[in-house]
Symmetry: C2
Subunit: 357 residues, 2 copies
């Protein structure tokens, strides 16, 4: 079975980091018998430049046909003055919605080789390995009604709707429990049920889902407390499941605990485990084109793709192992450079991982 | 002019920590010529026990008459099975709404004497002094419509509305700029304007407010990035202004950076600077009645009350100075105990602060 992979480089450092991922995929294809095709299409600012919108029809059509999509990153100052619907990040929101990528997996892992990079004390974060499961196609991101209206007294009012149905909550809950049952068997569901009705329903459905997973322990936490606990004692968490907006904030907070977001991949899955894979970091326009970008989060996104969408767990292990090896060799891009390490370029890092396969 | 102060002890450790605050206020009255009256009334679980609801009418009436209110903390397992409208935290939400306490000030300050308590590396947090200004009577906490409804397909759906009008944003914006002009002259407004219309309007109004404060610098940050930056480099912030929900999460995150939330006070102000003052920490039912609670956040809440509502800046300074002195003496309640410190009880700590005045 051939795996059809679509690569969408996007903006800023996107093209240079996905170039390394392409090298990796080609090596897996040529030297390890991994049967795949690789297509490429623009998204974000690049989509706007090529076809006048951040998610061009051609790109969406290819994405629908693909088994998995690898995205670099989107956004940059060049497109910040555009009308909102034309801005790069709208391409990202649109592809999530169009493909039904409801399940966003954001691991926060501290690589022991990079422990120094964390702003937290060593004992607080050593060995950190959390999986945040964020709902990605619902909640206040997509809820209606929304807009800016004029009130009777003449002033304007902005409004958005945070909304979840039982089936949306159930679906992402099951994803989180499935994942937890393959790791630490604990799910912490984060909400604001002491204030929000939408969270009340969230909590109730999570309780119901939990009954189908007797081997997995469910706990609940308010979002404000979760933000505190991430800073105080992040290792208490195994899998965290939460809504779109809370997940946006908490997953970035959790990622930053490691101090090396240049290392963190993510997956966004549909109901059939088709997925879009991207590094957690952004498009970093300030360093674009200079060979300074860290490609490892993108290479680790390839590993996630192999594992979650393409049923190639052994190859995924191999890629992760190779990344660990280059870190052990002391190779570092500038963002993770430290005493005693050897600073390498984006391409040198990619080459080293391929060599270590 | 007599200052009429209402004390609402609340639940858990609430009564024992406000007892120390009462000692302090009486000392200021008896020995420092501070002209005040002190009333007391139940709120939260205590309000429910006394009058069947978390914000009894009698308490609200006294609160309306008072110039300032000191709250201990609300909540506990005893009331968790009650119907939602009867639960302790509803008393807190109700008093905020009834008194129009729109401006919530939450300082996150690292006391140099307690630097060890932080889970962050010393150089990241040493000298930390942020003021978070959270909008407290609007946004998704109070937005309508809200509820749980049944959809045509039979499943239920929960929904809440995040809503802000221009005047609400303007008001809290001015509060933040006023405060910033008395400290570091920088305001960072946190929103999610790349996704939410309500944040678009928020950003626009903040820009407009900024024009009236040429000496204060305004920047904008997305809430996910703000959570990251708090962990990465919190000292970059001076004043942060944000909406009710984002402020709930970010202020708790910021508080936890210090590692000693037993030290952090808060103020909630109306348009006339009348305010409700309370420690940031909760009611800690597990240690209630044991003399283990740290009263310093409550005593520092008294200092905030003196400064923001009662126009007694000199007395506020004196209280803060006294708290610094007892820390320098090495006195610590168990939550902030460290090597070389002397562990004292709630009452001993309160006495020590009064003695140090
Ligand atoms: C770019 C933005 C719309 C997006 C989001 O908020 O989901 C990003 O922050 C993310 O987390 O992928
Ligand atoms: C108790 C709860 C309703 C409250 C809130 O969310 O505002 C608390 O977390 C706070 O921050 O004061």
């Amino acid at each position: 079975m051939t795996a059809n992979i679509l690569i969408t480089p996007g903006d800023g450092i996107g093209p240079e980091i996905v170039a390394e991922a392409r090298k990796l995929l080609e090596a897996l294809r040529d030297d390890f018998g991994f049967d795949c095709t690789l297509e490429e299409a623009p998204i974000g600012g690049a989509g706007y430049e090529a076809h006048g919108k951040p998610l061009p029809e051609e790109t969406l059509a290819l994405a629908r046909e693909a088994d998995a999509i690898l995205l670099g990153a989107v956004g940059g100052p060049r497109w910040e003055q555009l009308d909102r619907p034309l801005r790069p990040e709208r391409g990202l929101l649109a592809i999530r919605a169009e493909l039904g990528l409801f399940g966003n997996l954001r691991p926060a892992i501290l690589y022991p080789q990079l422990a120094e990079a964390s702003s937290l004390r060593h004992e607080i974060v050593a060995g950190l390995d959390i999986m945040i499961v964020r709902e990605l196609t619902g909640g206040i991101y997509f809820g209606e009604p929304r807009g800016i209206r004029r009130l009777e007294n003449g002033e304007r009012q902005g409004y958005n709707t945070m909304v979840y149905s039982e089936s949306e909550i159930d679906r992402v809950g099951r994803l989180a429990f499935d994942i937890a049952s393959k790791r630490g068997s604990r799910v912490c569901s984060v909400d604001k049920a002491n204030v929000l009705e939408v969270s009340e329903l969230w909590r109730e459905v999570m309780e119901r889902v939990a009954r189908d997973y007797p081997g997995v322990e469910l706990s609940h936490m308010y979002v404000d407390n979760a933000a505190m606990q991430l800073v105080r004692a992040p290792k208490q968490f195994d899998v965290v499941v939460t809504s779109n907006l809370f997940g946006d904030v908490l997953s970035d907070c959790a990622a930053m605990l490691t101090g090396s977001i240049g290392m963190l991949p993510s997956a966004s899955l549909d109901v059939n485990s088709k997925g879009l894979y991207e590094p957690v970091h952004g498009s970093a326009p300030d360093i674009a084109g200079k060979g300074l970008a860290n490609p490892l989060a993108t290479l680790l996104s390839v590993a996630m793709m192999l594992r979650y969408s393409l049923d190639q767990g052994a190859l995924a292990d191999r890629v992760q192992q190779a990344v660990g090896d280059v870190l052990n060799q002391g190779l570092r891009t500038p963002d993770i450079a430290a005493r005693q390490s050897r600073t390498v370029s984006t391409a040198e890092m990619g080459d080293a991982v391929v060599a270590a396969l």
